[in-house]
Symmetry: C2
Subunit: 345 residues, 2 copies
DNA sequence: ATGAAAGCGCTAACAA
DNA sequence: TTGTTAGCGCTTTCAT
């Protein structure tokens, strides 16, 4: 007993126990062939015996890889500390986080969670990456004019966005065909025999909300309904309720509604029912996102599915690729939405 | 122009520009006094000029601090990949994540998100910490018999749990007084004049579910109702519906229900309404957690609040403390629940 | 108050 | 196939 084993074992210790050099142990650990299989076994045994775990800091120092990426939820500041509550309270965040974690864990990498709603917070994200704390960023912005993509590009940091940025920037992103999704909703309402259809759209400065509205209008136009009543919401349930109330006042005879997300659709259903309309008998309602509210609502909502988990997995795939070979041109992948038919239509 | 500035600047570079030694620059960066204020300014200027960002790996290598912690969501495996979906779909997760992120960001530290539902995943968590990737763990288990706390202790890794572990282990945790919370619910139902009250409890192998049930029973007993009908659920909305249906069949005249969480309470409301009962006129319903479903439900639910955000902030506080001074004894903090009265009672 | 220098634990280029 | 060795960029004694 020469050493007071309090220290956590290093490569050196393993090497000594195995009777080989540090380099050989390193090779075994990193799965490099060209190592005699007997020696490999000896080394593995020594690793077990010493309880060795590689020091990531030392490793990163030489490889210049953190082996970590950041998942950034960005947007405009809510009210004070409310941003976190708002972001994390949204079931959409759960799907994003779940998709990211599930994909990355197979690669032995784990995401760091960051918020970026203020200038300070954005700087923190950039610094975090520049310090080498993480190798790249997955960015989900609620706000279309988010300055973070630009900052990331200027700093030359690998990043992939969820959703196409409002103004074109040379950066990779993943999105769905929102227009096509809205068309699905329109076609479905028409196929259900609805003729007096309205829509609750999202904030029109959000490209996705625009696209959904445009897609819906165009498809309805194609079906012979050039004029569609519109009420704008902000993607919250409350705004859906308000919008529906207005629509109902102005068009008491409507028989179909398409809302740009499930939360607003749910709000719409509540208001319709309170006003004595049966869903779907009197008014059919279609949502968007296939999020938990679509199932919590009664009747459960027919909705357009955005394959969020697949999308974020693709984001991660692109990011990892970009980290491997930094000189790649930005890539973008657009997924197809689908319609999930439930009892609300 | 002697250098091809492609390299990212190091301390050395800053030192050269500022005309001082590495040590001095390091001191300025780390806010150590005993540095002439003129020199300080020179150094800061050099940092700006070079665009220097400290390399975290190099830092960690010497300080033996990652400056990061892990947020682990643990539990029993769902079905295959479903665990992530399940965990992240739960609004509770959003509150936990939000609380953790909001607290830690003020300390300049950011959580790594990990899942630990299988043996392999648990090993990954332990290894992650042993490699020095993070300095400690915040652990939220859905499963009471989770083996992870034990593993963490055995490895001597700093950790703090959300909720008291099923079997006593020497580890810090934060919890609420579940029993007291359930008593709040009982007292409230009685004060609303309810005399035929039932409860939908959670899985009885979960300590919190047990405590809520016991607290409810004891309080009702104290009010003169020794026998309370019980139906067991598993914290999902579906199970709440099933439990409520059964309760209604067996006790068609009940006028009050306490469910061990909001999701089940919401399910109960749905079933009650479908069976022609008005809430709260015919049957009053109390939930637990004050989670989004409590607000999404119509009528909105009276519920018991667990101050989740404060609790996780306290967890982080304890963990950071423990990381600073590792020799501390485990600490536990129990928060008081409160009742939020809404329209369901 | 400042600088010189010794590592922290690891990978990888080069030798053998 | 294996070993030797030179750093990676930083903090931190120890001198001065």
């Amino acid at each position: 007993m020469s050493k007071p084993s309090a220290r956590t074992p290093t490569l050196e210790d393993v090497a000594r126990v195995a009777g080989v050099s540090r380099a050989t142990v390193s090779r075994v650990i990193n799965g490099i062939r060209n190592v005699d299989s007997e020696i490999q076994e000896t080394v593995r045994e020594a690793i077990r015996a010493t309880g060795y775990a590689p020091n990531q800091a030392a490793r990163s120092l030489v490889t210049r890889r953190a082996g970590t990426i950041v998942l950034v939820m960005a947007g405009a500041p809510g009210e004070g500390e409310e941003f976190a509550t708002q972001v994390f309270g949204d079931p959409f965040f759960g799907r994003v986080a779940g998709g990211v974690v599930n994909f990355l864990r197979n690669h032995g990498i784990h995401p760091v969670l960051m918020l970026a709603e203020t200038g300070e917070a954005r700087t923190e994200v950039i610094d975090f990456l520049r310090r080498g704390n993480a190798d790249g960023a997955l960015l989900v912005s609620t706000h279309p004019e988010d300055p973070l993509p630009r900052l990331l590009i200027d700093a030359g940091l690998p990043a992939v966005l969820f959703a196409r940025p409002a103004r074109p920037v040379p950066i990779s992103y993943v999105d769905t065909a929102h227009q096509a999704g809205a068309e699905l909703a329109a076609d479905h309402l028409v196929s259900r025999g609805r003729t007096k259809v309205a829509t609750i759209c999202g904030p029109l400065d959000v490209p996705a909300a625009q696209a959904r509205l445009a897609g819906f209008q165009q498809a309805m136009d194609r079906h012979g309904y050039p004029y569609i009543p519109i009420a704008e919401g902000d993607f919250t349930q409350q705004s859906g309720e308000t919008a529906m109330a207005r629509l109902l006042t102005e068009h008491p005879d409507l028989d179909g509604v398409f809302a740009a997300n499930d939360l607003m659709a749910h709000g719409a259903v509540l208001v319709l029912q309170k006003n004595g309309r049966r869903v779907p008998e009197d008014v059919a309602v279609v949502g968007y996102d296939n999020s938990p509210p679509a199932l919590a609502s009664r009747p459960r909502l027919t909705t357009v599915v955005q394959p969020v988990e697949e999308m974020v997995a693709e984001m991660a795939r692109i990011l990892l690729d970009r980290i491997e070979s930094p000189e790649q041109a930005p890539r973008s992948v657009v997924f197809d939405p689908a319609l999930v038919v439930r009892e609300s239509t």
